[in-house]
């Protein structure tokens, strides 16, 4: 007598595959709908209606004077070009430019602190190596706690751009360390180092001119990931931000909480496009999207 085929043989694979596709749909469908809705006039029925309009985008980007335009993106002069007798003022969207700048500052700090420690863990054996590794790849505290701590420790500095940059760099440092470390681990570090040393290079020179350039792709993807995560950092910014231009995540929150659905959709879609651009960049340097363990 033939044994009856087991349940898992008959259904296992389909159930597992179905779970995957259902979850992907759950994760991605609202993203697609949001982008679609950002071009709609209204969304009151099952699906958004009144296509195609750019009013939401214009309102969110601060290009149109509408009700609630105080929530729109501000425009501020980036620099002035003296052209002949006239001056040409180059305007940039304030929140966007502000966040891009803050996140770049955070990435610079991350490069300086993250690349060396990743190399130390990947290349050398030393007592306490496991703990150094754990401290460098696990976030120390979440944004809210760090925000409270910054307010206490640096009351004057915490709401400034510099305070935000330092905070972002600590919060996102683990991502840089992980990206660079996985690159280092795929390299023959000891051979590289020893060859360079035997050719007469000092150790600092070996590190800076042989090791670091070879780990380029890991460093670049770490920088891109850290940049995107810092540009989107909400929790820390929400606690410490006091006045002036808002970071991008706070700009998103003020739309999500206050604006009409389609306008909020436009604000969130703008953010999606930034992340898509970043993901495409990441794939160019050879990684599959945000393929770094987060926590």
């Amino acid at each position: 007598m033939r044994p009856s085929p087991s349940l898992s043989r008959r259904f296992g694979r389909s159930v597992v595959t179905l779970t995957l596709f259902a979850t992907v749909a759950f994760l991605i469908a609202p993203i697609v709908l949001t982008v679609v809705a950002s071009f709609a006039t209204s969304w009151t029925g099952v699906l958004p209606s009144g296509f195609v309009t750019f009013e939401n985008w214009r309102a969110v980007l601060g290009l149109a004077d509408t009700i609630g335009s105080q929530r729109s993106m501000g425009w501020s002069p980036l620099f002035r070009l003296p052209l002949g007798g006239e001056t040409l003022t180059v305007l940039v969207p304030a929140e966007l430019a502000f966040s891009i700048g803050l996140a770049l500052g955070g990435v610079l700090i991350n490069l300086v602190v993250g690349v060396p420690i990743a190399y130390a863990v990947a290349r050398y054996e030393f007592p306490g190596r496991e703990w150094v590794n754990a401290v460098s790849v696990l976030p120390l505290v979440p944004g809210v706690i760090l925000g409270v701590a910054f307010l206490r420790a640096y009351p004057d500095l915490s709401a400034t751009s510099f305070g935000l940059i330092v905070g972002y760099s600590l919060l996102k440092a683990p991502f840089m360390v992980m990206a660079v470390q996985s690159e280092f681990e795929s390299m023959p570090l000891q051979q590289l180092e020893e060859s360079a040393r035997s050719l007469g290079a000092s150790w600092p020179r070996t590190f800076l001119t042989v090791i670091v350039p070879n780990a380029r792709s890991g460093i670049v993807s770490g920088a891109i990931i850290c940049w995107a995560l810092a540009a989107a950092e909400f929790n820390f910014s929400y606690i410490v931000w006091a006045k002036g231009t808002q970071p991008l995540a706070l700009f998103l929150q003020r739309h999500i909480s206050n604006s009409s659905f389609t306008k909020a959709a436009a604000a969130v879609s703008m953010f999606f496009f930034i992340i898509v651009a970043v993901t495409v960049l990441l794939q160019r340097v050879g990684r599959r999207g945000f393929d770094i363990r987060g926590s």
Binding site: P116, V141, L252, I292
Partner: protein
């Protein structure tokens, strides 16, 4: 007499320790052997990170601990445990702690429970467009909590798609069916943020699974479930524990989602409220301290006493 003796031995222990610290310092500054030079390099490589953690992390945290035991509002003076008495004595804070813990535990279990089949399908099956699926599952990792909350509004809010479809099918009013701004909605929003992260960790674990053993089990007549249960699961168990620990940490840290969907007051939300007008800075400090100590101990014990794998 024995006191004197104890004092002497303590002194000599201290002296020995001091000599060792000074010795280690001298080794780093003035290395003689190649091994000592290597230690100097390691110290130099770790120094920038250590400075950042000290200046931006540990010193600010120490100020938080200091204010939490301060006897005065806004200034760190004296010593008082009033804030901790409030935190542990007031039933309100106990409720906040309880709500944070059950919400995070529940969402962690659901997220890791979903991530196991997702990682399994991505790593074991030859699916069409696998790279695209990986990109799509990873994409939400980069979305802050506020955007995750908005995604839930898009699906289950008053104007949400699922709400509208369900309302059209059942004939009830959308506002009766919308559950985005409710505790279940918050639960789903947490899962939205946590599933991609849990999947990422488990995919790393799955990549290291020995597939020859699985094929052998299958060839010997084990059903797919038996193969998973007895061959795959023992290999991925450390990864699952690691994913549980890290996803739990992620869940506890969520804050932005709660700013949009304020239906349950959890620890982080209450903490931000303590900073508002008329609230208590010492209690905020105590809440931050308790949070830090809890997650620190939880992670250290988790990594120490389980075979959890964290990092790459």
């Amino acid at each position: 007499m024995s006191d004197r003796h104890a004092e002497n031995s303590l002194l000599s222990t201290l002296r020995g320790l001091a000599t060792r610290v000074v010795g280690a310092f001298e080794t780093v500054v003035n290395p003689v052997t190649e091994r000592e030079r290597e230690y100097r390099r390691i110290a130099a490589l770790c120094a920038p990170f250590a400075v950042l953690v000290l200046v931006a992390g540990l010193y600010p945290l120490s100020e938080v601990v200091r204010i939490s035991v301060s006897a005065a509002q806004y200034r760190s003076v004296g010593f008082s445990l009033d804030a901790y008495a409030t935190l542990f004595g007031d039933p309100y804070y106990r409720q906040v702690a309880f709500d944070s813990l059950w919400l995070t535990t529940g969402t962690t279990l659901v997220s890791v429970g979903l991530a196991i089949p997702i990682a399994h399908a991505l790593e074991k099956y030859d699916l069409p467009g696998e790279d695209l699926l990986v990109t799509l599952v990873s994409f939400p990792i980069s979305l802050p909590g506020i955007v995750a909350a908005f995604m839930i509004l898009v699906l289950f809010g008053n104007n949400g798609v699922v709400t509208a479809v369900a309302a059209a099918l059942t004939g009830s009013r959308p506002t009766d069916l919308a559950f985005a701004v409710s505790v279940p909605g918050l639960f789903v929003a947490f899962v939205y943020s946590m599933v991609p992260r849990a999947t990422l960790i488990l995919r790393g674990t799955y990549a290291e699974v020995d597939s020859a053993a699985e094929e052998a089990a299958q060839a010997l007549g084990a059903t797919p479930f038996e193969t998973f249960r007895h061959v795959t699961l023992p290999q991925i168990r450390p990864g699952i524990t690691g994913a549980l620990i890290l996803t739990f940490r992620t869940g506890l840290a969520i804050f932005g989602t709660l700013v949009v969907i304020q239906t349950l007051v959890v620890w982080t939300l209450q903490l931000s409220r303590e900073l508002g007008v008329g609230y208590d800075v010492q209690v905020a400090g105590a809440m931050a301290t308790v949070y830090f100590v809890f997650t620190f101990l939880f992670t250290v014990l988790g990594l120490r006493y389980t075979s959890a794998e964290v990092g790459i």
